[in-house]
Symmetry: C2
DNA sequence: CTGACATGGTCTAGGTATTGGACCTATGCG
DNA sequence: CGCATAGGTCCAATACCTAGACCATGTCAG
């Protein structure tokens, strides 16, 4: 069995703490976007597409706070702000890569499961 | 570089689709709880602790829909329902284990980053 | 016989989070 | 002057989530 035990479910555990942070709607996406290199705020907005300014701002703030991302403000006008992954952030790309590879490999099974489920529902209500 | 490219950020891509599903507040936790074996509804409630019935119900329904979890209803009174991981669900434990290991290893760095950030803020506003 | 209890949910009311859009700063450009 | 630009913040409206009441039905205590 994989090294993942009861602690995951314990509300006080470090793993839960980390999972709660990255397990939100946007953090993984922002990290994925930054994986391509340093990016500016609006660049991230465009790239992710359907994230609101406020959420992007908040997500970046939390990622910065937790040490995944480095924020650099160039005091020009209009201001320029660059976001880049820290070493910690880059190290996170590895387990995240595993997740992404899994998603890529098993996506078909998931789509199939959804179709089958929809089928079952239709049957049941018919 | 890890095999994770621009597609991650594309809203139509399979990876994004999967990430959106597991990237909610509870899915990972439920999967972690089920990793220990078949569980009943209230057992999951107790184990996770701070999840509401509605969210647990909804999360389980989605996980079932996507083929991660198998739901078995025993038509007794009071009804008994058991939730177990499918093969797909079990296969997901592997990349998830990577994530958990990373969290465990780097938690200290994150806590340190938070402390440092708090320090900086205090400085800036002082 | 009456009534409480148990399970696995669903429904509703109220609170919290998220969204889209207006607005702000300050300068350069026509 | 007046608009554009970059990176946000603020607010109102909306979506989401929570706690708790409620449902069905059979079993067991009294």
């Amino acid at each position: 069995m994989i090294e993942m035990d009861q602690r995951v479910v314990d509300q006080q555990c470090p793993i839960r703490d980390v999972l709660d942070r990255i397990g939100d709607q946007w953090s993984l996406l922002v990290l994925a976007a930054l994986q391509g290199g340093t990016k500016r705020f609006n660049e991230l907005m465009r790239e992710i597409g359907d994230i609101s300014k406020q959420m992007l701002s908040q997500t970046l703030k939390r990622l910065e706070q937790d040490g995944f991302v480095l924020r650099t403000l160039f005091p020009e006008v209009p201001p320029r702000v660059e976001y880049a992954l820290t070493d910690l952030g880059r190290s996170f790309l590895e387990p995240m890569g595993g997740l992404v590879r899994w998603a890529d490999t098993h996506h078909q099974s998931i789509v199939a499961a959804r179709r089958q489920y929809a089928g079952r529902i239709t049957e049941a209500t018919a």
